[in-house]
């Protein structure tokens, strides 16, 4: 009976429901009627986090300004928060499609291509060609971006958030207690050996209980430490060849290292049972010296840890490599398609106007409007550069920037985004970006898609493999299985069908590279 609950949850994750035949008929009768500029109104479904200052995007001054400029009125529909996938599926199901769906469009069971062939989403290739010059230009100039908004069958399906900077910096990597390093007279560790020495000294001389905090699984999802051994944490590519990290020889070396560190007490003993809150408690109570994190989290540990040790300070460090100066090949990457994908549905009566409306966000004026808001109100130009006004930075109602942001500009959404269009980065943030981005990311797989059949096979097989792999990795690290068993472990995973899974990923990667982009 209890599985019913689970079922419900899963169902909501997966379903998209029948009866699109009715909708698909509509596509043919699509009229290009209003090429004029008369006022139109569209329904726009998008998840949104309300707060005291702005309850829905319908209150957004930026979109009001956009309406003045484009004569397109938008009625925003926001699903109940936290249940967006469920709401998405039910919406699709109930045949009341809005004109635009942003985020979760990829949840359509069977994939985007299926949604297009089912006549639910519109294929945008021709519309963009004709009516979206700014967006088209971006796609033409950046094949990687073009691939990421095109499906395997060559359908351009969305307007997405695009980073203006093609190489946005990394936001995930290792951090260490700088004060401890300084007191011990140690340099920031760069190689695995240096790390070992630093952790050991900290453990012995500073009596730090758990020098290094690692996550529950024993392997960092963005590959910190694993990447030193020339492998990725999961599926990755070397050149154009897909590989599965956990069965590579490099992975064995990684496990041997972790096992050694674990035995020596250099790694948190309880890592396998810690959740995020528990890890944070360890860090902020001064019982840990190094951890892997997103940079945004670090500065807020400061007030907490200062009450324990007033001298405490954190510094970002290089993602470690085996040899000094060697570059690792795996880290977090921001895809060119930065999410916030907005699709146009077959219910849209005037796709031409809507496409034009979207395209405005990628134009020069649109860029300023979405990134900075309305001149004179939310920003002014100083020394030729836009600067936020006090309305944004020191709001008279006492709200902070992140509360007011969506009333005057758009934090994330389908537009050309300048990631620096925020009040400011802290020193730590900038240092972290700089340090972590020094690692290469050429082993990281791009966002590929599996076909429906592949998907089924993949999920059936991988759930077993992952169960086994997760179990064994912890056992190897904690010494409950000797590393001499690694070959048996690889054999077992092979017998469970990993080669076929690698092939599936390889095919998906090949299809990705072969996506038809002009």
């Amino acid at each position: 009976m209890k599985i019913k609950k689970l079922l419900t949850a899963m169902l909501l994750l997966t379903i998209s429901f029948s009866s699109f035949s009715a909708c698909s008929n509509k596509t043919s009768e699509k009229t290009n009627s209003s090429s004029s500029n008369e006022k139109i109104s569209i329904k726009y479904w998008v998840p949104f986090t309300p707060n005291q200052y702005i309850k829905s995007l319908n209150e957004s001054e930026m979109y009001k300004e956009l309406e003045n400029r484009t004569n397109v009125h938008v009625e925003f529909i926001h699903p109940a928060e936290g249940q967006e996938k469920e709401q998405f599926n039910i919406m699709i199901n109930s045949k009341e499609l809005p004109d635009v769906i942003q985020n979760y469009a990829g949840e359509y069971k069977g994939g985007i291509d299926k949604a297009i062939s089912d006549g639910v989403y519109l294929r945008l290739n021709d519309l963009i060609e004709k009516y979206a010059p700014n967006y088209k230009k971006l796609l033409d100039e950046d094949p990687e971006l073009a691939r990421q908004v095109t499906t395997d069958s060559g359908n351009i399906y969305c307007f997405a958030l695009i980073g203006e900077d093609r190489n946005e910096p990394a936001w995930w990597g290792p951090v260490i207690r700088k004060d401890l390093l300084d007191e011990l007279g140690l340099k920031q560790p760069e190689t695995i050996d240096e790390w070992e020495n630093v952790l050991r000294q900290i453990k012995i001389k500073k009596k730090i209980e758990a020098p290094l905090v690692i996550n529950k699984k024993g392997v960092d999802g963005y590959g910190t430490f694993v990447s030193a051994f020339d492998v990725g944490p999961y599926f990755y590519k070397k050149g154009n060849t897909v590989k599965y990290g956990p069965i590579e020889p490099g992975f064995k070396e990684y496990l041997a290292l972790m096992n050694r560190w674990y035995k020596e007490g250099l790694i948190d003993k309880d890592f396998a049972t810690r959740d995020r809150k528990s890890r944070e408690a360890l860090i902020t109570s001064g019982k840990a010296a190094a951890f892997i994190t997103e940079y945004g989290m670090v500065d807020q540990y400061i007030p907490a840890i200062k009450t324990v040790n007033p001298k405490a300070a954190f510094a970002p460090v290089l993602i470690p490599s085996l040899k000094k100066g060697e570059k690792v090949h795996y880290r977090v990457v921001n895809n060119r398609n930065g999410g916030s994908e907005a699709v146009i549905t077959s219910s849209c009566k005037d796709p031409e106007r809507v496409v034009k409306w979207f395209d405005y966000a990628y134009s020069k004026e649109g860029y300023m409007l979405f990134n900075y808001g309305i001149e004179g109100k939310s920003y002014k130009i100083e020394n030729g550069k836009p600067k936020f006004t006090d309305l944004m930075l020191k709001n008279p109602d006492g709200f902070d920037y992140w509360t007011v942001v969506n009333k005057w500009k758009l934090d994330v959404g389908p537009y050309l985004r300048d990631y620096k269009a925020i009040p400011e980065f802290t020193k730590f943030d900038l240092a972290a970006m700089d340090t972590w981005t020094k690692a290469d990311a050429d082993y990281v797989l791009p966002p590929t898609t599996l076909t429906a059949e592949e998907e089924e096979q993949y999920s059936n097989t991988m759930s077993d493999i992952d169960t086994y792999k997760d179990e064994m990795i912890l056992k190897f690290i904690m010494g409950k299985e000797p590393l001499s068993k690694f070959d048996d472990y690889v054999k077992q995973i092979k017998s469970m069908g990993i080669d076929q899974m690698i092939q599936i990923q390889q095919n998906a990667l090949n299809r990705y590279y072969n996506r038809k982009i002009k």
Partner: protein
């Protein structure tokens, strides 16, 4: 009491008292813990681990943030509506149904029982259920939170068990006096089963109070949302933001979103739990012994 306590019984009383006292402490702790967390300074809370006996620092900021949300008030009144009306419908339907299935001499008794038992285990899942509610025109109406959950089989069977314990002789004699089944149910059986009825009402009320899922899928207008749905939004709002956005973020963004996240979580639990917890003492009023006394003429 005429009866004298023996030594062993006195020892039992003492041991029982001590045991239950320990139990009380152990059971009171989680809520106490949450309460203390909700009053603590978020930064100190972050580095804390283990037992908490008093708040770390003291702040009401979490509560201020929770109550700043304008939807809390409407949510509270909506919930009040769903709890009262919903429980009333539940009780009426459950009492009548329980009476029906407590009459074992009914020819269709077994058929009805099996009809009731099957849905306990088998259901068609959410999509057909949603479509059915849609077909009945209940989507985005308050009734969508009342009718589809009008009867709980579990509660029905519990109530039936209580009804069965009413002496058959009472019912027979009432029948001889010319009472029909409605009179028997409302004048004899219900007054004699007050305690169980009170418990069932509590179960239903707590169920309505805590439910958010049906509201989420059946309701569209925010002004019809129950409190729990609003509170859920507060709880998870920051997490969704994290999930959706794999972009570079700044510390400032996190300080706002993260530091108070845990605090707000605890405050939300308190706000959503305390009112319903306070209902129980009122239910206890019906836990009076000897309701059968005086009515039994055996």
């Amino acid at each position: 009491m005429v009866y004298k306590k023996s030594v062993s019984e006195k020892t039992f009383d003492v041991v029982n008292f001590i045991f239950l006292s320990i139990l009380v402490i152990v059971c009171a702790y989680p809520l106490y813990y949450v309460l203390m967390c909700s009053l603590s300074d978020p930064y100190q809370l972050m580095k804390h681990k283990g037992i908490l006996l008093k708040p770390l620092g003291f702040t009401l900021n979490g509560y201020k943030l929770v109550f700043k949300n304008p939807s809390i008030r409407t949510g509270f009144f909506n919930t009040l509506f769903y709890v009262t009306v919903g429980t009333f419908v539940n009780m009426l339907l459950t009492a009548m149904s329980a009476y029906v299935i407590s009459r074992k001499n009914l020819m269709w008794h077994k058929f009805l029982m099996i009809m009731i038992t099957i849905p306990m285990f088998f259901s068609g899942g959410l999509i057909p259920f949603y479509l059915q509610v849609q077909r009945l025109g209940l989507i985005n109406t308050r009734w969508a939170l009342i009718f589809p959950s009008a009867l709980s089989i579990w509660n029905l069977i519990i109530l039936r068990t209580a009804f069965n314990s009413v002496p058959e002789s009472l019912i027979e004699s009432a029948k001889l006096d010319g009472a029909n089944d409605f009179t028997i149910l409302f004048k004899i059986i219900i007054p004699l089963s007050k305690a169980t009825l009170a418990v069932i009402a509590l179960f239903y009320a707590v169920g309505h109070w805590n439910s958010w899922f049906n509201a989420m899928i059946f309701l569209r207008d925010r002004d019809k949302f129950p409190l729990q749905l609003i509170l859920r939004e507060i709880l998870i709002s920051n997490e969704t933001r994290e999930m959706m956005n794999n972009l570079p973020r700044t510390s400032a963004q996190f300080i706002q979103a993260e530091a108070y996240k845990t605090l707000i979580k605890y405050c939300t639990i308190i706000v959503s739990t305390l009112p319903i917890v306070c209902v129980y003492p009122f239910i206890q009023k019906y836990f009076v012994k000897g309701v059968m006394l005086g009515s039994t003429k055996e």
